[in-house]
Assembly symmetry: D2
Homo-oligomer: 476 residues x 4
């Protein structure tokens, strides 16, 4: 879900996360400590959203919901977990955007419908939400918030059926875009993925309990084992201890977000059977094959560039070194250095290790260039620590297009790659050389040949698997 407009809060080299993935979700069916378990599942998905977190539980008869702002550990307290009885749960952690970062937009979204109480957790973004909303409002519906997700309960309330699963299916048949959804009702959990499977969603099991999560690392954290991925377009019901496919949306072409492998997902997660760390290493190996360079040492930008840097080092034979050290204590409440101090070299997040870099030709491996500001700062940092050359290698293709499916990428006007050639970019960031991994290379690193076409790479190519509506386009 997105709150009406996208925002870019990064690019200054001091932020923890450069891109926002709007949300991670978990679901638990049939566990005596469902609320607690969802807390640990959400904690494992914390990298997918730091704005707010929430959990809803069902005890067979009614729902309870708790939501709060901030990280999971801030949003949910022991008293919250204690106020969430029942053996079924859905949880949600949300990406922070400015402006609409309010409790009103936190999920799970709760509503009482003619079909009963529901709580909905959504990862992704619907491209025809504005149009559907206008239609409901004209007919007398009152919306609470600004999120695209809210059209789903309104479409369900207006479906002329008292059957919850049927109402859910009818609502999903009207929405377009990216969605991994978990809907909690007093007696069941419904899961669904959009027909293209843009956002991931996996099923697991822990003892007698059934689990679902955006990434497999959350299944691990909940003490579970992986069962299978929810298929694109599949609607799954968890009820009475059993998993059942209850409906299928009309099929689209498979288009799992490739950027999940490059940046968003945790290295210990497997997506569609492929481990993310190993995919990143493979991207690093391929990057060396596509753009070799003579150097003395390979350095990765912590944390997301490390795996690719190790792959690059292994393939090239150039030694990998810890040339950049990250301060692990960066917090939201941290005071950013004033411009004058920044210019005087005050640095907060990353420090270069002079005794590793001094007098060496360095390959710096990172996963992206957004505005170029961060990259320029890193190159400068390495040079000041004594590097005699800095060759920048990016383990992904250049970003040129906005994402309409739930990732918060700056507008084209801000994206350096949308305005500059690679040579111009190298000059702008001050690198001795610069190369990006090819789109084909990235795809082939994330899957074997048979599956390598099944990705959404719209942010690199502009080829969108689901056409965004004019209203959505206008927001970017």
């Amino acid at each position: 879900m997105h709150p009406g407009q996208a925002h870019a809060i990064h690019g200054n080299g001091e932020q923890d996360r450069r891109f926002g993935c709007e949300c991670g979700i978990v679901a638990i069916h049939g566990h005596p400590r469902a609320a607690e378990l969802s807390y640990y599942g959400l904690f494992a998905l914390q990298h997918r959203g730091q704005e707010s977190a929430g959990v809803a539980t069902a005890n067979g008869a009614s729902l309870s919901v708790r939501r709060g702002m901030g990280l999971v550990a801030d949003a949910l307290k022991p008293s919250d977990l204690a106020a969430l009885p029942g053996e079924d749960a859905v949880g949600h952690t949300r990406y922070s955007t400015t402006g609409s970062s309010t409790l009103a937009n936190a999920q799970p979204l709760y509503a009482r419908l003619r079909q009963g109480e529901v709580a909905i957790a959504h990862n992704g973004n619907l491209v025809n939400a504005a149009e559907l909303r206008a239609r409901c409002e004209a007919a007398g519906s009152i919306f609470q918030g600004e999120t695209d997700t809210e059209v789903i309960p309104h479409l369900m309330a207006r479906a002329e059926t008292d059957d919850l699963t049927e109402a859910f299916f009818r609502a999903l048949s009207q929405v377009h875009g990216a969605f991994a959804l978990a809907l909690l009702a007093p007696d069941r959990i419904l899961l669904a993925r959009d027909p293209n499977g843009i956002r991931p969603l996996s099923l697991g099991q822990a003892g007698d309990a059934l689990l679902a999560a955006s990434e497999t690392c959350a299944l691990d954290a909940m003490g579970g084992r992986f069962l299978r991925d929810v298929a694109p377009g599949e609607v799954v019901e968890l009820r009475g201890g059993r998993v059942e496919t209850v409906a299928s949306l009309p099929a689209g072409r498979p288009a799992l977000c490739l950027f999940e492998y490059i940046y968003l997902a945790r290295p210990d997660s497997d997506l569609h059977g492929r481990n993310v760390h190993l995919a990143r290493k493979a991207m690093g190996r391929r990057l060396w094959q596509e753009a070799p360079v003579a150097a003395d040492v390979v350095v990765g930008v912590p944390d997301s560039g490390i795996s690719a840097a190790v792959g690059f080092a292994e393939e090239s034979g150039i030694p990998y070194e810890m040339g950049l050290v990250k301060n692990r204590y960066v917090a939201r409440t941290f005071i950013q250095p004033a411009q004058a101090l920044r210019e005087a070299g005050v640095s907060v997040k990353l420090n270069a290790v002079g005794r590793v870099l001094s007098g060496r030709r360095v390959v710096l491996v990172d996963d992206s260039i957004v505005r170029g500001t961060t990259s320029r700062r890193l190159v400068t940092l390495l040079r000041e620590a004594g590097a005699t050359a800095v060759h920048l290698r990016i383990s992904a293709p250049p970003f040129k297009h906005p994402c309409y499916y739930g990732i918060d990428i700056p507008t084209a006007g801000e994206l350096l790659a949308a305005r500059r050639t690679v040579a111009e970019m190298a000059a702008e960031v001050g690198a001795d050389s610069l190369a990006f991994l090819s789109e084909a290379g990235a795809r082939s690193a994330a899957a074997d040949a048979a599956a390598a076409d099944g990705f959404c790479t719209a942010c690199f190519t502009g080829q969108y698997p689901v056409a965004p509506q004019p209203a959505e386009r206008a927001l970017r």
Copy 2:
């Protein structure tokens, strides 16, 4: 400084830091934004203490002090920095111990003496503080708190001189133990290290400003460059833009804490000219030489075990892999999993990567075994992820003795190595084999041959460079 008694809050595998180093200090002389700069310096030393943080500044005429509980970003707010005028500053970040973790014990310690206002920041621990305090109290002094540091201003207040530097020197001549000190007065900063140089303290320069810090990474963070270390026993005055050695305490044998290299210091710091990351890599290399083993993959325990694991891999030729992934969002307010969930496999901080470990013989490199609980849990985690063998290698000698100089090591009764042979320990943690680095090996990795004797290794050997007082011994 220590607050009267030592505590061990670690060993459960979920804590960020296993040992407490009691404190990091910074000093700035002659910078127009001294308070802000000290904030960034302290932030770089955050790993040395997370209980409280404080900054004092001097504007030539008077002092201002602000202290708060928690991490630097929580303890000091923009309004605090705004309330700290002046071009000189000292800052302090303190290690969290239970019980005495109160604002009253936070530093810098402020006092008005007959020699004028002072603010004192102390890293280390004095072994004769209890005796000195009893003497002062019998003569009518009233102490505010429980820390050993407080004897210093009381000894100064009772020195029959109005000269501040002289009073400081007279006080230091009476205290024994470990200290790196920064004292702020309205017109100068005084720095000192104990005669054995147990705790580190380095001088730096940023433009016209003079800097000092417990570790060089803080000099980097403040935009400065390293000048030199303060020598053991040296008393330095920063005044009028100049550095001057104003006194020397009687020399002791050089005894820099070796554990700073093994665990405490940041990898990007240089201590006595030796980079910590490179020292750890050398420990890993040496560990392979001392205790080789046939295996398929080397895995380090994040974060402090990574450098040694990379060294072990390089020396052995066995590939290094990211087999354990750490959740970066562990926070103080996090709710620990209940015992039942823990036993059911719910994990919070570390996750094992099955696709890297499955079917492999693993060398697991860590920097210490304390109670054995954490190590056992890690070995189990790797086996459950499919490792066919787990060989544990520790890049330091076994801990057997308490530290009286400011590191919070559990009591001998709790230290596994004080009660068990290496073979028994291997069995207890469930490893296929276990080896520790030798004490000589650790020393030689941290320094060249000429300097390899100049370390305090009392926690491994029981040979203390300064005899602890009976009262101090009783506390352990």
Copy 3:
């Protein structure tokens, strides 16, 4: 409005307010500092509700809303007022009930309708809200909260007209019960009172600005002067600087709540032209006429019993004295004394003045007996301070029936007068004599003969001007 169920939180003699009046409202049209002015207006109505407070403003084009929990001074901060631009405002302060005392139920209630944005403030209670809500939900409406008020925007959204005033009138034509309403839209304010005029609402003027408030004391506080009362059933529009009656609901019999005079309203307010303090004095005078007694001193229970006590003293010639002193600092966060301390005589709110009471026969004047607990405690307190006799006089008739129009009176099972004769009550509270003012006496004190029939006295008589629905009855 009421949040689904009524609660009684009083009767222990330590609470500030014994009965809850559910809400006070203000409206301002055409003032350059509308948000600030509404803050002071709400502050003057603080006695009508301490649970939450909120203000909405309109700047001609759109609305802004801020709500918070607690007293006005806690709920609204300078930053809130600064975030409320525009020259029109409505404000609301809400009575605290347990359970549903949440921000979600705070008002003004905001909604975007097909007729545009609205913010609604409501004092009173609708008796057919449950039925109307069920009807809307069956047709696909989703309600946010639990309050009766929310049916109004839903009925408006479903009215098949784009005219806001028309939609408001159509909605009001469907609701039954008690309401004083202020609706803010970008270009106008709409005010309305139910056909019986159960809850008060007055119009005022301050310079060029038009004002409305539940009580005239709020007009005074906003620097305004009284214009006239909104008539029962009248719908008023404030727009373009003018007051206009735009519609009238079918007339009912006049039935202003008599309890407003007895307890709820502030003594400096005038209701339907009658000053509340003077009405209470007249009740005291009449009480002496109906139930005289030989005594030495008249004492009133602070604060609401003081006016009647002064009237009683004047009419009887017995001197009035300050025999009970109230601690002005009772706060929400106060820790109530444990039972053992209470029994040992620890008292918090009221203290008896021994030198005024000792050896005297005392007439104690209060405005009500609810459960009897408080009265018994007060009688005991006076006797312990030396009173030789305590004659209790109540300046209102006995409470025997629940209120369905927005006042939080305990259930009949808890009301002492519903179960006991006056003589039994005197024995239960330990008074030497007890008398209540007659219902006719109370009415005649609040109005001249012509208007003395125009009151709702259902809580005393059980004669309800608007029949409560079965669902509402079940809640009591």
Copy 4:
């Protein structure tokens, strides 16, 4: 105690308290719930200080202390009371001054001395504290805070005796000024009043427990009965369940602060056997005798002017009416109206009742004129409500001199009476006539003839019972 400098935060007619009395104290000996009891005692003394509150308890072996900022209910939480074991307690509530209103200055003041642990609560102000402090500091003492009270523990620490009571007596023999003191030690409580008895202190009993408090209303609140006042210069020990006079300071002339009767104390307290409400009524009666005037109604300024107004009405035969109504919800966090709103008639704290005042000649009775601003505003308010004449009567003499004994009176430059004649003051506040009670009249209302000389009236006459030091004078 005072924190180094005095501040005036009043005079704008919107503040609750016009003068600051620096502190109220309580002590409890031998009660199983000593901490809770002291909480209720402090709550009854809340009017004497709203800045901070604290309680210390002793369990026979050691002390526990908790202090917090703000009102008692904010400063002390259930967890604080639970952390205060033991049967002996002292408590303190402190007056709010700007600047030094910090937790560091909150009391009870805790110190570990050679005679053991002590916690000290002080009401009053020492006039030679600065001199004594300088002497201690020159000899090597380090002071923590800025308060005058802190010299007492330092003088005790330097007394060459291990006997606590002896050390306390020696310290008191050196200090001059006003003090009511309660000192808690592990095995006893010591109480003392200065030789002139400027500040009050009374003893009481509740069951087997012994009590002490600044005012008798606190004894009542704790469920106790009054025993006797501590005599001027008396040092009392509460130990082993018994009260004993253990020492006497050299006698001075009796000089109980007359302003306690006029304004500071609660109306339900008795000071030196005289009830405060009755003293105020007597002042009102005497005021009529000294300055009669033809009028229709007498109105008192709530709350402190009410008793005198009632006395004035009784003596004159002019009826007393509730012409001013006070909003009971004024809170610290309240936003003061902007100047423009104030001028437009927005009022917050007091409202005039038009139907009581309109067309009447009014006598307005208040207890003081400070800067004149408040009085002018009140006179205007009455005239705007329709009063045809306003005669202002003040139930105390004019303030012309600063207080050095613990009351926060504005500087002479700000005191209207120090610069103007009565006629000029009448003109400045806009009253038709103005009169003050004579000093002799005030004294005679507070005591019978025999005791009427035993008051400190220095703020009216400039005759100080204890000469202030030059340093103290300089502060005013």
